[in-house]
């Protein structure tokens, strides 16, 4: 079974890396958008899956990074300087997000991040000498080495893999365990001697750096920045991606990004009522596939091999509750759904 999984994974990776050889620029554009959206969704998922914090303002962080790059790129600065500017902006914005939210959770966290996202959006419109205001910044150009869509896609793909690897490492680390502890019970963590607020601040900054990476890539991909990048719908879509793909799973955000980008950019050319479709997908997933697409697939696999240890475990109990498992969809006291298994890569 494991061999099949590894083989399948290898095949997917091979296909992903050979895509530039066989695909036309536009499909590559879409795939790049999927990679970028997946990194942003992954940053939301890091907070949602590990710490149990639902951010409705992450597009604000990624847009800030994007403006950093765009501002520098329009001034013909070296790509490395563009990155440095973006890093600085990302750190500052993430720090503000973190400091303002680190003593909150649940709905208050959601509301403050939403407000901060709207504030970034507002600033992008108002600071028009830096951001071009509502008209945005045109004339952004990618670094020459990734000017070609195929090359840029590979960059986005590699960055996505890096982000996945970092996420994987983080969830397996004792820091990741600390974050899951915070998710389960802040009071208990405090009483054990953990500085909970500091842990949340660090988590928001880690997540912010990831969102910033997505922002940089997005600015280079579209070679354009506008306040819409920090809009509420961008943040909400990132959350939808996480839910649809599977909260707390490693690959969930990638799958979710595929679905949402597919609907928004591809299916919308054929289906005029695509927002309704997106909403229905979200409703169906929340009602019937709590673990998202990835969770549902894991479920299927588990059911498919009843002799396996997963099948033997009582329903609702993860086969091996060790690490990385996390489905925060359940309310307090509710049992982990059957989809909450170990991530099979």
């Amino acid at each position: 079974m494991r061999a099949v999984a590894v083989g399948l994974g290898g095949l997917v990776l091979f296909a992903a890396f050979s895509a530039p050889l066989v695909l036309a620029p536009y499909p590559l554009t879409l795939l790049s958008l999927v990679c970028i959206a997946a990194i942003l969704a992954g940053s939301v998922n890091l907070l949602m899956g590990q710490v149990g914090l639902l951010s409705m303002g992450h597009a604000g962080i990624s847009a800030a990074a994007g403006y950093g790059v765009a501002w520098a790129a329009v001034r013909d600065m070296d790509p490395l300087i563009q990155l440095a500017v973006a890093l600085g902006v990302t750190l500052v914005v993430s720090l503000v997000f973190g400091l303002m939210t680190m003593r909150t959770n649940g709905i208050v966290f959601l509301m403050i991040t939403l407000a901060l996202g709207m504030t970034v959006n507002g600033l992008a419109q108002k600071l028009s000498s830096l951001t071009g205001g509502q008209n945005g910044l045109t004339g952004v150009r990618r670094p020459p080495i990734v000017a070609d869509q195929g090359a840029f896609y590979l960059l986005a793909l590699v960055m996505l893999l890096v982000a996945l690897a970092v996420t994987y490492g983080l969830t397996r680390s004792s820091f990741g365990l600390t974050l899951r502890g915070v998710r389960e019970s802040e009071g208990r963590m405090s009483s054990l001697g953990y500085p909970v607020a500091r842990a949340k601040l660090l988590a928001v900054i880690c997540s912010g750096l990831m969102a910033g990476t997505a922002g940089v890539l997005a600015a280079w991909q579209s070679e354009f920045m506008s306040p819409a990048a920090a809009g509420f719908s961008r943040s909400a879509f990132a959350v939808v991606m996480v839910i649809v793909g599977g909260t707390g799973t490693l690959l969930g955000p990638v799958v979710g990004a595929g679905v949402v980008v597919g609907i928004e950019h591809w299916l919308s050319s054929y289906v005029e009522r695509w927002p309704t479709l997106l909403g229905v997908v979200l409703i169906v997933v929340v009602l019937f596939a709590r673990g998202g697409v990835v969770g549902a697939v894991q479920d299927l696999i588990r059911r498919w091999r009843p002799g396996d240890r997963g099948g033997a475990a009582p329903p609702g109990v993860p086969a091996l509750a060790t690490d990385g498992e996390a489905v925060v969809m359940t309310g307090p006291g509710a049992q982990a759904p059957a989809g909450a298994g170990k991530e099979d890569l």
């Binding site: 997917v12 296909a15 992903a16 050979s18 895509a19 050889l21 066989v22 695909l23 036309a24 620029p25 536009y26 499909p27 554009t29 879409l30 795939l31 958008l33 999927v34 419109q125 028009s128 205001g133 509502q134 008209n135 945005g136 045109t138 004339g139 869509q149 997005a218 579209s222 070679e223 354009f224 506008s226 819409a228 990048a229 809009g231 719908s233 649809v244 990638v254 799958v255 595929g258 679905v259 980008v261 597919g262 609907i263 928004e264 950019h265 591809w266 299916l267 919308s268 050319s269 054929y270 005029e272 695509w274 927002p275 997908v281 697409v293």
Partner: protein, 422 residues
């Protein structure tokens, strides 16, 4: 940037496998319709927002565009014009992705639309970068000013263009103080910039108010206007919901009866008139599309449009119709050949002596020079509110009377620079 070649097509299964993995749950991945460009067809990518907050404008654009091809057939210059529609939802990122899709996937040879300034800048920048012509009706000044491009042609007026005569006229009427109220972003800055620069250069003084885009409640501005007590109020609105709300509040505060109001092109547009009701009668505005103007072109277009869609055609429908007209006639001129700048040059040469907007000619930066009309909203025989022509200001340039060089030496109109005379 090539389109999908035949070779690419044979490799498709592998490609779609990768696509299918990434787009996991999207049903029917790989079923994307790939149409090869066959001889005798010119593909035009038409981008308009039919979802999102400006969906009404986008729908009108589609209607106007479709009407032209229905009336005149889709053959021009020996080639068949095939339109590929895309929805930008009013979002520049989406507009840009859709433009990429049109160019890279569908292999269009030119684009038309979209409407919002930010979406238009994003699309024009990209499409021109691909060496393809793009046609616009958006007002965004710099599209044919500081960011002009020989591949970009505007079949409409800049945001400020029709408001210069408004400022001059207001002063000539004896008004000396004005309050301007415009949305706080580029379109509003440019609209108010036109009025303010002309009005203050003539000798008037202004109080400038800016309201946020998507503003919820206009009451505060009405109180400010009451406090300023100006001779005249100028409103430079992007039309639609904001404008209706604004005028409703204006009337509610009793200002309609005390202070004359002048609107820009789009404040009291036809979308507005469909909804505003009786209080809309009497609004004066300055624009370039007058649906009741006495001209065969206009009458024919309006009756055909009303027969087809039941509504009076709006500025956006008329603009799109004219975009289609210009493209069709340019194709006639080139014999169906679309070749970048040469095609745009052909489009510039199309005769628009009696267009829907009146006699037009293009300036060096691909923007029309043409008449601006002062209109008054009145009910037609059938009770429908329409603009009725009051006065014509011929041959208005996007640079007004300042001259191109002097005008372009200034920065583009913004919150901080509306051309107030020193």
């Amino acid at each position: 940037m090539g389109h999908r070649s035949r070779g690419g097509r044979s490799a498709r299964p592998v490609g779609s496998a990768a696509l299918a993995v990434a787009l996991a749950a999207v049903v029917g991945a790989g079923a994307a319709v790939a149409q090869d460009q066959s001889g005798g067809t010119v593909k035009v990518g038409f981008i308009a927002p039919v979802t999102g907050f400006v969906a009404a404008l986008g729908q009108d654009m589609r209607n106007g565009w479709d009407l032209y091809w229905t009336q005149n057939g889709t053959t021009a210059g020996g080639v068949t014009v095939e339109t590929i529609y895309e929805d930008d939802a009013g979002d520049p990122e989406v507009a840009l992705t859709k433009a990429r899709k049109l160019v890279e996937e569908d292999g269009v040879q030119m684009t038309a639309g979209p409407i919002l300034a930010n979406t238009a800048y994003a699309v024009a920048d990209y499409v021109a970068g691909q060496g393809l012509p793009s046609f616009h009706i958006t007002g965004a000044d710099d599209l044919t000013q500081r960011r002009a491009n020989p591949l970009v042609l505007r079949v409409g007026y800049t945001s400020s263009q029709s408001n210069f005569p408004a400022g001059q006229w207001a002063y000539d009427q004896g008004h000396r103080t004005a309050v301007t109220l415009c949305p706080d972003y580029a379109f509003g800055w440019e609209s108010c910039g036109g009025f303010v620069s002309a009005f203050t250069n003539a000798g008037g003084t202004v109080t400038q108010l800016w309201h946020p885009l998507g503003n919820q409640d206009f009451a505060s501005y009405m109180t400010d206007i009451q406090a300023a007590g100006p001779d005249v109020v100028f409103v430079g609105s992007a039309g639609g919901p904001d404008a209706i709300l604004l005028y409703q509040t204006y009337a509610g505060f009793g200002l309609k009866d005390t202070t004359p109001l002048i609107g820009n092109c789009c404040f009291a547009d036809q979308v507005f008139l469909r909804e505003i009701g009786d209080i809309g009668a009497g609004i004066e505005s300055f624009g370039y599309w007058v649906e009741s103007r006495d001209s065969d072109e206009v009458t024919a277009f309006v009756s055909a449009y009303e027969a087809a869609y039941g509504d009076t055609p709006s500025l956006y429908a008329a603009g799109s119709y004219m975009m289609a007209q210009v493209i069709a006639e340019a194709l006639e001129a080139t014999g169906g050949v679309v070749d970048g700048e040469a095609f745009v040059s052909a489009a510039r040469g199309v005769s628009l002596a009696d267009s829907l907007y009146g006699p037009l000619a293009f300036d060096d930066l691909n923007n029309p020079v043409g008449p601006v009309y002062r209109t008054r909203v009145e009910p037609r025989e059938d009770g429908r509110l329409v603009h009725v022509l009051q006065e014509t200001f011929p041959d208005v340039s996007q640079f007004w009377t300042y001259g191109q060089d002097a005008f372009l030496a200034n920065p583009v109109f913004s919150r901080d620079f509306t051309g107030v005379a020193p």
